[in-house]
């Protein structure tokens, strides 16, 4: 854990944003949107195994895997919704590969620490807060029961 109370890889993302000017933060969010990893085949063929995030403006779906103690998160969001894709890209970079305990310890308000309030607006950032909350809930459920792909 770092001074921010975040795992190092997520703290790096936050620092990457906050080091920039506001217009450049928006460009960085766009880069995260473009860099969002594609769905693995087993999910691409089974979208019904993904959880919708109705709090977001755009249709976005997520899935969580817990294998051993490691967490993997997958997102599906349309290209024409770059803001939502960007949120997913940030969470993917910040969370993938962390342990269950590390994900659960990520502060719920981390989306509000990216310095995007003015460039993106707090109302839109609520969508990212909701995505994080849903991921943490799924991690909790999957680490308590049998680990494995969501079914």
């Amino acid at each position: 854990m770092t001074l921010l109370g975040l795992p190092a890889q997520f703290a790096d993302v936050v620092e990457e944003f906050t080091a920039l000017s506001e217009p450049d933060r928006l460009q960085l969010l766009l880069e995260y949107s473009r860099g969002l990893p594609p769905l693995p085949d087993w999910l691409a063929e089974h979208r019904d195994r993904m959880e919708p995030v109705p709090e977001c403006q755009a249709p976005v779906f997520l899935a969580v895997e817990v294998a051993g103690d490691r967490v993997a998160v997958h997102f599906d969001a349309p290209m024409e919704s770059p803001t939502t894709r960007g949120f997913a890209g940030v969470l993917s970079e910040g969370l993938n590969g962390l342990s269950v305990a590390e994900v659960l310890a990520v502060p719920d308000d981390v989306p509000l620490r990216l310095g995007l309030d003015r460039a993106v607006s707090p109302l839109r950032l609520r969508g990212m807060v909701a995505m994080l909350a849903r991921i943490k809930r799924q991690v909790r459920e999957r680490s308590q029961g049998a680990a494995g792909p969501p079914g």
Binding site: Q57, R118, V120
Partner: protein, 294 residues
């Protein structure tokens, strides 16, 4: 300086043809002095992914809303925004955006609160421009700053507040939300965020006309005859009726405000931007449930 109107025959049928331009007109007029193109989207990053060459971005959350009170920016802030975007008071402004121009219409309505005279929509919006394979760019436009004057916002002609809606009960109201929101089955749009209304239903007497009924399959506005059939024949509204339109936060209803005011020539249409997120949370206001106006 303003730019000549689009003489597209489809637009000639509308009450105010000068409020619309076609994609072909815009392609021909891009770069003309006196024309500024504005993109206004739901998604705050869509402009950055590619926009009409020369277009500037105006975002409804971060540019048009006051950042503290639930209100629009004031005259000084609007002037500062216009100056920074390089828009002069007498410029022709053409606004376009995603989702059938939903947010573009909202921006146009806010420009109208400040009395910007020549503001138009691109028929079909962003989708039509891109579908036709017209050029887009990721170059951010930095126009030279202008001396846009500080103009007092004039809410009265086109904006309604809750107390005015209470005093308006019994006269025409148009609810442009989805049928499920109208009946009270849900308090937000299908697939959209819950924005916190404690009660579901509609304002008593309101007619249900979901906003997107005004758009054709390709995202362009329906023809004059098709629009007359919906609003005048089916719903019985008249051009001189005193009408208040509302939705959830006033964005979808500004699209309907545009249709009634500029395409059909209705003379007294106001947008209630407090809309359901205010009415559905207000204490002791009347609410009707179900699919009848009530």
């Amino acid at each position: 300086m303003s730019v000549a109107d689009d003489d597209d025959p489809k637009f000639a049928e509308y009450a105010h043809p000068e409020r619309l331009v076609s994609t072909a007109w815009l392609a021909d007029n891009l770069g003309k002095p006196g024309l500024v193109v504005v993109e206004s989207d739901e998604d705050v990053l869509l402009y950055e992914t590619g926009h009409i060459p020369g277009a500037v971005k105006v975002d409804w959350h971060t540019d048009l809303n006051d950042q503290v009170a639930r209100d629009y920016v004031d005259g000084a802030d609007f002037a500062a925004l216009m100056r920074s975007k390089g828009i002069a008071r007498d410029d022709t402004v053409v606004i376009y955006g995603d989702k059938n121009n939903w947010w573009a219409a909202y921006a146009l309505w806010v420009f109208t609160l400040f009395g910007h005279a020549d503001v138009r929509l691109l028929d079909g919006g962003r989708m039509a421009w891109i579908a036709e394979g017209r050029p887009i760019t990721t170059e951010t436009e930095q126009r030279p700053a202008t001396d846009y004057p500080v103009v007092q916002r004039d809410d009265a002609p086109i904006r309604a507040f809750k107390d005015q809606v209470l005093g308006h009960l019994g006269r025409p109201l148009v609810d442009v939300r989805s049928p499920q929101e109208y009946t009270g089955e849900r308090t937000h749009m299908p697939d959209y965020p819950e924005e916190g209304a404690l009660r579901g239903g509609h304002i008593p007497g309101a007619l249900s006309v979901p906003w997107a009924r005004a758009a054709a399959e390709d995202g362009r506005f329906k023809t004059r005859a098709e629009l007359d059939a919906i609003y005048r024949e089916e719903k019985g509204l008249s051009p001189d009726d005193d009408i208040i339109a509302y939705c959830r936060i006033g964005e979808r209803s500004s699209h309907t405000w545009f249709v009634l005011t500029h395409l059909l020539g209705f003379t007294a249409v106001r947008n209630y931007d407090g809309s359901w997120t205010e009415w559905g949370n207000a204490v002791r206001v009347p609410i009707a449930k179900g699919d009848q106006p009530g």
